[in-house]
Amino acid sequence: MNDQLQDIYQSMQWLMPELLLTSAILITLFVGLFVTKNKHILLKSISLFVYAAALVLVALQEIDNPVSLFGNMLRADDFSNYFKILFLTGGFLTVWISQEQKEKNSTEYFILIQAVVTGSCLLVMSMNFIMVVLSIELISLSSYMLSGFGFDKKSAEGSLKYFLFGTVATACMIYGMSLLYSLSGTLDYSSETFLKNLLENTTPLLLVGGILTLAGFLFKISAVPFHLWAPDVYEATPTPIVAFFAVVPKLAGLAIITRFTLAINLFGQSGFNWQLIIAVIAAMSILVGNLSALAQQNPKRLLAFSSVAQSGFMLLGIVSFSTEGIHFTMFYAAVFLLMNFLVFIALNQIESAWGAHLIPAFAGTGKIFLIPALTMLVGLIALTGLPPTAGFTAKLLIFSSLWAGYEQSGSLILLFVFIVGLLNTVISLFFYLKIPYYQFIKEKKRDATGLRISFAENLLTILLAIALFYLFLHPDGLMRWINRISFVL
């Protein structure tokens, strides 16, 4: 009893950032109830402050060895801290660019974002299926509501669709976990019991359980074939929220997939070829995402399919099942955060100033909104994976990991995804250039007097663009940090 209390007490210390986020939810709720004047600004400031403070708390945590919390329900390690920094940055940027909400909804808006970030932080630390389910549901339930924040018919449709798909995915996942539990006798997927029992019980049920569990995670990162919700939800949701959805829950899903696949792969001794399964999903996501994006006329639907393809690219880093591959995926994740936010912020600025919703309506905006259009071009070039942006470096590293994996193991599936991934860069260029094409090349005269985006508003996109250039010129710093992250299951 005393030991347990001691454990809980000590675990709490590691949970400071999450506790801060949780208390922020309560504070926001109370402030929202009692303050009526300048509510939006006040709540926004609180949110920004909380994310910044939580960032500092995470950065201050020094973790030499992974720490087991609450009887190994959670685990604090470098890996989870790295992702937490990405989530908190994502939350910060989302709140920063959020426009004024309708007065009565702004409280919920900030609370829901905080809830998703909290859920994501908990998810990357989860070592126990129960914790995984709870965190994923915290993310999902808040996301369903957030996607309805357009308050129109379309938004409601998107939200409902997301909800229906999401609940089915969660149900599959829980069913899969229960099968794994029945085989392994433990919910702690990092424990030796889990590995030992699964090694002894190689039945097809293990495959079914693993795939069903993965399905729930893959739904979160909108990988094929669990991507169908993405275009509808992205289209109907306010742009800052889409930017948020495309990064934070996705990276959280990616982190848990990394941990889970390493566990289920049983150090390469599994009777099933998990490499093949992940590789096929990654290749399918890249292909389907890119090919579907070609036909889109709505920028948000286009970016939805692009994010499906990007999920595929990030999965490619895991496919080689090497420490380096996972390190490169983490590098890619950071770059993805920067480039995706850059594109969405610029898109948001142009959309709200110009009032356009379809890509052809962007004709001629390149001249009027030069800086947002240029920075968006940088972001899109980075998403394509062309130099001189960090998007190129990230793809180069991922492909290096595939090649090295292929050289070591001779597994042809790695060679296959290597080629599929690289050739898809050409396809993706075609649709990524679609928006700049209308902005700069198509001409359209339209009166643009009074339409200006101030320098202060442009500052953020300029900073993000510079970060992408900087990480291209000097990836060493970030990689050195990532390389220090020891990855033990």
Partner: protein, 532 residues
Amino acid sequence: MSHLLSYLIFIPFVGALVALLIPANRINFFKQLTLGVSIIQLILLVLILSAYKINAGVQLAENIPWITLQLGSWGSLHAEYFVAIDGLSLPMVALSVVIMAIAVISSWNIEKNHKGYFTLLLILNGAIIGSFCALDFLLFYVFFEFMLLPMYFLIGIWGGPRREYASIKFFLYTLLGSIFILIVLVASYLSIKDPATSNEVVHTLNVLHMQNPDNIIPGSLLDVDTEDQYGPYSFRMWAFLLLFIGFAIKLPAVPLHTWLPDAHVEAPTAISVILAALLLKFGGYGLLRFAYPIFPDGAIEFAWMVGFVGVLSIIYGALNALASKDLKRLIAYSSVSHMGFVLLGVASATAEGAGGAVYQMFSHGIISAMLFLIAGVLYDRTHDRLIANYSGLASKMKSYTAFVLIAFFASMGLPGFAGFIGEVLVFFGAFQSHAINGLIPIWMPIVATSGLLLGAGYFLWTIQRMFYGPYSIRIHVPELTDINSREYIMLLPLAVAALLFGILPQLLMKYINPFASEWVEELFKHASFFNP
């Protein structure tokens, strides 16, 4: 003075940055800025030429570590900012500087969005020179890719009526080529180690290290003893093929050339000039710098194929030129034909052939620039390029006709012009190859000679149709005027150069020759490593 090449590469980028900060209504400033950058580059070029020592191999080198990444169990990746010049890159760099200066003058009458145009032109300038100087594969690739985006916008925004189609086609084709190159880049650097480090494996992308078979990690996929076969070929053969396809798209070689006529027809004059005179050269340059030295065994195995594609391009390009109704399209196809000679020369793997290929690239740079400027002069006046719409221009535009004759004769390969030297050397090499190394059969150069005849055919026929006979033009334009002083400034230096390098080939050959003979020697030395 030790950073001459870096100045040459980065001054345009600095210029672009300055241009971005200046308000868009100061049109003249952008023109003067770009011209100023070109003048500084010309001065730097003179300094580089005076500092360059013949017979001293790679020189003026600047080597700074750029990316050093720990890759855990695979050692580490080491990419360098490594720029230098040798007998191959010096002619190309000189050509680039001169052509860029002429392109700026030719852009003087651009009609819209000056700020964007000249900024992109400056970026393109830096990227082109950077690619020619880079001796680190990754650095080369980065500059090489970085050329595509400015080019896409330059064609797409300032081009002709079908510019949108042409620009995206250009981008997609050349990006596909780059992806093939990237595949080889990723696949090969993990097999190559830096010789300087012994205890830890450092993967390097330094081209000089990549060319040396001693640096290949034993047992890796690039190693000659690796027995893995992929279909009919080993990995090394595939890597050579991928590089060849990648650079052949850029060259462009038949059947990968279809982007070129579209891009040329739609691009504004100055961009056509840069495209033909400089960008196409990366095809030949890439083969000479990367594909052949890194994979000499592949080069020997596939010499027949390279030669055949060259001959095919010569003949097919010439036939298409003969059938072209549009003047610019004709010139574009003549480029395809002339770049075929580069392939033939490279394939022969003789000192004459390789030297001839470099000479041909240089002379084609001068002559094609002139040809496109000539087409531009006419288009500026009439906004029409159909050959059938003109006749008897000689009576109205005397100086213009003189320049056209010089350019056409030079392009035909008439003795006394630069084009002649390149083609003759290529033929020397190609005919010898049969006896010296047996790489390409004797029928290839024989068939290729018919390309010269066809070349004479389409150029002379064009002269006859457009310039001789009674004056008439079938479109409504005000009175045609002869070339003005700005056009003189662009055309005269090129005409002089075309003659000068035709009469005094030694001016250029003294740089190229040492490179070409060493290149061939190394090629066979390294090839014997793989096929003892």
